[in-house]
Amino acid sequence: MEWLPSSSPVGMLDQPDPNYPVPEPSRLLATYRAMVVGRRFDAQATTLTKQGRLAVYPSSRGQEACQVGAALSIGAQDWLFPTYRDSVSLVTRGLDPVEVLTLLRGDWHCGYDVPSTRTAPQCTPLATQTLHAVGLAHGEARKGRDTVALALIGDGATSEGDFHEALNFAAVFKAPVVFLVQNNGYAISVPLAKQSVAPSLAHKGIGYGVRSEQVDGNDAAAVLSVLDTAVAHARSGGGPFLVEAHTYRMEAHTNADDAGRYRDAAEVEQWQQRDPIDRLERHLREGGHLDDAAVERIAAEAEEFAAQVRSRMQVEPTADPEDLFRHVYAEPTPQLQEQLAQLRAEQEAQ
């Protein structure tokens, strides 16, 4: 039964795993840096929300090992299919942070160039993007490209029918797609125990013939290593791979949410102990790959990154009402032309 995932999450920083190699120190260092920058970016976005610069922001604080691991496990030729919570992953992937925040600022639905970044729009209707990832992966393979599609999804969203259909399509078409479930313990207020009573979410792969694995999602080395295996498996024609990463959402669901209603401070505190950045930092310091100076330098870089975002976000973009009609169809229908004319007349009248 080689298709069974490990019976407990694969870890690495606390204790090496026989089945997965530890990533190179240089790679772990880059990961550490991206996690620090990502966390700072995340905090900045939260602050911008409090200032009313963003309509809403779903923080991924505590999930940086997954966010960064996801972005660094695939190449520029690969495709990423993120959700609303994966801004840090996109920033790590190299997307312009202000473009990443466009959706949440409310200027437009997607702010970055999807085809050239090979990054799908951040998806809100839960689990729907997993099917897009499968179709894209199959399509790319059919075009003779060795693209892998990496689909991000939350624990709660695994309950949606689309996730099931995506796993099955992926398996039947042997599509080069990796599903990364960031199991952060909650779907808004609903804890995992009310979402699923399966041995693990990784075990869901079995019923489709999809290889699967579970990993300590706060262990950046393990996340990277397991994703490396998954991506290689998919790229080499092995078909889809499902990874469940056990992590924790340190903040509320979004700034608009009140997590105090449904979970204890003690639980949050416990996860604080397993902070993914602290753990990786400790590991790198212990291995002699990181010292105070480097930590400070990286912190400064993160600060600079955040400052840039902050200042660029102070400029309110001008919204053009005619954009309403620009991209509904390739060419506006006669009906939309009429409606556009009405809008123009209104604006001229003002």
Binding site: A55, G106, L126, V190, S196, R261, Y262, A319, L324, Q339
Partner: protein
């Protein structure tokens, strides 16, 4: 008489329904401890226990399909869809089962299910959080479709919806959740299926529902300043539709504008316009006009004000109602032909 928000009224209606009828159960995503993302079920689980108000796994088709089974076992499920667009995964269950089970079984299996949907926009929500979906439901035979516009109606209609032997899609205008009214609960307004004249007027009739109603009221006020005495009809129930009240109102004024927030094409306002001209044609001094959202995906927050119907657009429509009463030449010709 205390100022009560629509959210409070809905919460009270759920509590009172649960207290009065052991078979009423409330479930959906985050309706338990959290009280729902709009806090409509706030405190309900605390007050009545997890048996009466509980969270489900995150799957809308699952929620509605499960509700069908619960109803078959004798319950009256009241389910919450988190936002309009997130009810779409349940579309098959709603259209092929919730709407059809009574018919399929010649009345032997009724499904007294209420599907609560936070409805429409105007709250600056990002993509998928501000859609309007009433036309999809109103077009589906076997469903009743209700949209309150005031706290009193929200209470009264939700109580009626829960008591109703038929499935009801209950559309709660998001942007009115926090609108207040002085009202003593419990309150009984009109029975489900009845429209109400919110404002008398002799010159023209505005027909609206849900979030369109306050807009129509505001527009009528503004129109008064331009010298038009404008009547406002709040439809309240899209299905069944109160033809009697609506047609009588329009016949009184001879002019009519239908207001709807959703994209216009094949929306409920089209139905209302079509019905009104069918029934009131010869009372009409002008075509029935519509003011609706544009035929576009709901825009991002920064542009929603350009999309949403507003007072100016309603006034413009009113102004186009041919107040000089000059029908075009063709009409006169046709009429002469007949004389």
């Amino acid at each position: 008489m205390a100022p009560t928000s629509m959210a409070q009224a809905l919460n009270a209606a759920l509590r009172d329904a649960i207290a009065e009828d052991d078979d009423v159960v409330v479930f959906g995503e985050d309706v338990g401890k959290l009280g729902g993302v709009f806090r409509i079920t706030d405190g309900v689980q605390d007050a009545f226990g997890e048996d009466r108000c509980f969270d489900t796994p995150l799957a809308e088709s699952g929620i509605v399909g499960f509700a069908v089974g619960m109803a078959m076992a004798g319950f009256r499920p009241v389910v919450e869809m988190q936002f309009d667009a997130f009810a779409f995964p349940a579309f098959e269950q709603v259209v092929s089962h919730v709407a059809k089970m009574r018919n399929r079984t010649r009345g032997a299996v009724a499904l007294p299910i209420v599907i609560r949907v936070p409805f429409a926009g105007g709250i600056g929500g990002v993509e998928h959080h501000c859609d309007s979906s009433e036309a999809y439901y109103a077009h589906t035979p076997g469903l009743k479709v209700v949209a309150p516009a005031t706290p009193a109606d929200a209470y009264s209609l939700l109580r009626e919806a829960i008591a109703d032997p038929d499935p009801v899609v209950f559309l709660e205008p998001k942007k009115l959740y926090w609108s207040k009214e002085d009202v003593e609960l419990p309150v009984e307004t009109e029975p489900l299926g009845r429209a109400v004249i919110r404002r008398p007027g002799r010159d023209a009739t505005l027909i609206a529902y849900g979030p369109g109603v306050p807009l129509a009221m505001e527009s009528a006020e503004a129109a008064a300043e331009e010298g038009w005495d404008v009547q406002v009809v709040d439809v309240r129930s899209l299905v069944p539709f109160d033809d009697e009240t609506v047609a009588a109102a329009v016949r009184e004024t001879g002019r009519c504008v239908v207001v709807q927030e959703a994209q216009g094409f094949a929306g409920v306002a089209a139905e209302i316009a079509a019905r009104v001209q069918e029934r009131c044609f010869h009372s009409l001094a002008a075509p029935v006009l519509r003011v609706s959202g544009f035929d576009i995906p709901y825009p991002p927050p920064k542009l929603e004000h350009s999309h949403l119907p507003n007072v100016d657009r309603v006034l413009d429509a009113l102004a186009r109602l041919q107040w000089d009463d000059q029908p075009d030449a063709k009409w006169l010709e046709l009429q002469e032909g007949a004389a």
